[in-house]
């Protein structure tokens, strides 16, 4: 196994994971450049969330190598994993906000528990993170009192308050309407530029991802079958890529055929 490229914030080599003997990841290989927005696309059930959870060490991979800035995370080295957790944040699909804590307490939690900052400094930094995400007026509100978009922003505020170098986004736009999807991707792009972290997003929203990302990859049946720039993705003639990319056109064709009575049920 070669030495991971130093320009990559995250380097994944030959990652395998199976559940009850059923393989989900079958040798995933990926390099995420430093300071970029990298999106992993793929149909539902392709293993995107499992891949992300392997990276975040929530799920233990069966084999393979994950390197973050020279730290090997699959070596079971506790120090490396603790350092990775200090320098990385994870944004859950469900936001995973603490429902019994206010917005301010949610944002302050990682600072309180993982740093030696004073209470005053923690409060200042938490309020600053809320202000940057336009949530300062809602500091005393509980997550249940906020709208879906605000909750997403609050989860992002909690993720960036520790100034991470890598943020992992698990389907950040799941269940949102097109306008909110655009807003979430715009928010990620805006704050990624502002804070300079590396963003790794898994999603199946192709148009938004292509606009917001620096690089994209397509995960299909447990393997990366495409990796390149959004322009390369748009021009790719790879059958899986074109099927996934042109799914709307394919639907249009199917509907036209149904209307013409060509398809017999």
């Amino acid at each position: 196994m070669g030495t991971p490229n130093q320009n990559f914030a995250l380097h994944v080599e030959d990652l395998h994971k199976a559940f009850n003997g059923k393989p989900v990841l079958k040798g995933v290989k990926l390099g995420v450049p430093q300071g970029s927005i990298f999106t992993v696309l793929g149909p539902s059930g392709a293993g995107k969330s499992v891949f992300l959870k392997c990276l975040a060490n929530i799920v233990q991979p069966d084999s393979g190598q994950i390197c973050f800035d020279g730290l090997e995370l699959t070596s079971r080295d506790q120090t490396a994993q603790e350092e990775f957790r200090r320098r990385c944040s994870f944004l859950f699909q469900s936001n995973a906000l603490f429902d019994s804590l206010t917005a301010l307490e949610n944002v302050a939690l990682p600072l309180e528990q993982t740093t030696d900052l004073t209470s005053k400094e923690i409060r200042r930094r938490s309020l600053e993170a809320l202000r940057q995400l336009e949530l300062q007026e809602y500091a005393a509100h509980y997550p249940a009192q906020l709208s879906g978009g605000m909750q997403k922003r609050l989860a992002l505020a909690r993720a960036i308050v520790t100034h991470p170098e890598l943020v992992l986004f698990d389907e950040p736009t799941a269940g949102l309407d097109p306008l909110r999807r655009n807003a979430v991707f715009a928010m990620i792009a805006k704050y990624q530029r502002q804070f300079g972290f590396t963003a790794l997003i898994v999603t199946h929203d192709v148009p938004e991802a292509l606009v917001a990302s620096d690089r994209v990859a397509l995960l299909n049946q447990g393997r990366i079958c495409f990796e390149g720039t959004p322009a390369e993705f748009s021009d790719s003639t790879h059958s899986v890529v074109s099927d996934f990319r042109d799914s709307a056109a394919a639907l249009q064709r199917s509907l036209a055929e149904i209307r013409q009575g060509i398809i017999v049920a």
Binding site: A56, N57, I58, E82, R85, R86, C88, S89, F90, F92, S94, A96, L97, F98, D99, S100, L109, P110, E112, Q113, T114, D116, T162
Partner: protein
């Protein structure tokens, strides 16, 4: 020969599923005990990794102490009342009503105080803890803590365990004192035992060793029941047969049942050392 072989084969065929089930259950129980011990040990070890602990201990003391106090007071008074009433009628058969204070105080201090106070705290604070942790597990809040580098045992379990060491003995003391008063109410006020006789019997009967037994039991029940409830809530997702809200309700039920059983088992073991 062939007939006996067939008979043997039949017996094996009938009993093998039973032995298989018995073996599986035994292994599961052993695994459960081991896993629970590791969980409790891990929680105590996480004590040093948890920051800003005092605020969360105060909050846990409020949950287990202030919130549960009314139940402790009510159950304590009625336990004392019933003990006074039943004790008076039993003792009056032998003309020993003067020993009512002894009966009520020793029953409360040695057994009923620690056990009933623990069962009440399990019903209120323990079940709430199991449900809260179960929901936090279901909504990925516990996983979120771990991805943030926060020690989930240190953050969620340690303050409750420390608080239980403080609150269970205190609540037991309140229960016992209120129970004495309940016994006096039914014995002296309603049934005519002399108040001075009752209270002097209480004073004479309770010795330092009884108090020690009472507080040791209360502290042990506190740690056992709170760690059982925390364990059940923390692993609400382990039972594959139920998911979601039903998994939370199942884990809460298990928490209350197992911790109540454990309290009674521990009561017997600790009593056997003191008697």
């Amino acid at each position: 020969m062939k007939a006996s072989y067939c008979k043997m084969h039949m017996i094996v065929k009938i009993f093998s599923p039973m032995f298989y089930w018995l073996g599986r259950q035994t292994l599961q129980i052993i695994f459960g005990i081991g896993d629970f011990s590791l969980f409790t040990g891990k929680s105590f070890c996480a004590l040093t990794k948890s920051k800003k602990l005092m605020r969360r201990i105060v909050s846990a003391v409020h949950e287990q102490g202030t919130v549960c106090l009314p139940v402790i007071l009510i159950v304590g008074v009625f336990t004392g009342l019933v003990l006074g009433l039943q004790g008076y009628h039993v003792l009056s058969r032998f003309g020993s009503q003067g020993l009512l204070g002894t009966l009520v105080s020793l029953s409360l201090v040695r057994e009923m105080g620690p056990v009933l106070a623990a069962l009440m705290l399990i019903g209120q604070a323990g079940s709430a803890l199991a449900a809260e942790l179960g929901i936090q597990r279901n909504t990925e809040q516990i996983v979120a803590l771990e991805t943030m580098g926060v020690n989930s045992h240190g953050y969620l379990v340690v303050p409750r365990l420390i608080s239980s060491l403080l609150v269970f003995p205190l609540q037991t003391a309140v229960f016992v004192v209120v129970g004495f008063w309940g016994g006096s109410l039914s014995g002296s006020l309603l049934l005519g035992v002399d108040s001075g006789v009752y209270w002097s019997a209480v004073q004479r009967a309770v010795e330092a060793q009884d108090m020690r037994e009472c507080f040791i039991k209360a502290a042990a029940f506190g740690v056992l029941s709170i760690s059982t409830c925390a364990y059940q809530g923390f692993h609400a997702d382990r039972n594959a047969s139920v998911m979601g809200a039903r998994a939370v309700s199942a884990s809460t039920t298990r928490a209350v049942v197992f911790s109540s059983i454990l309290v009674l088992v521990a009561d017997y073991i600790i009593s056997s050392f003191f008697v």
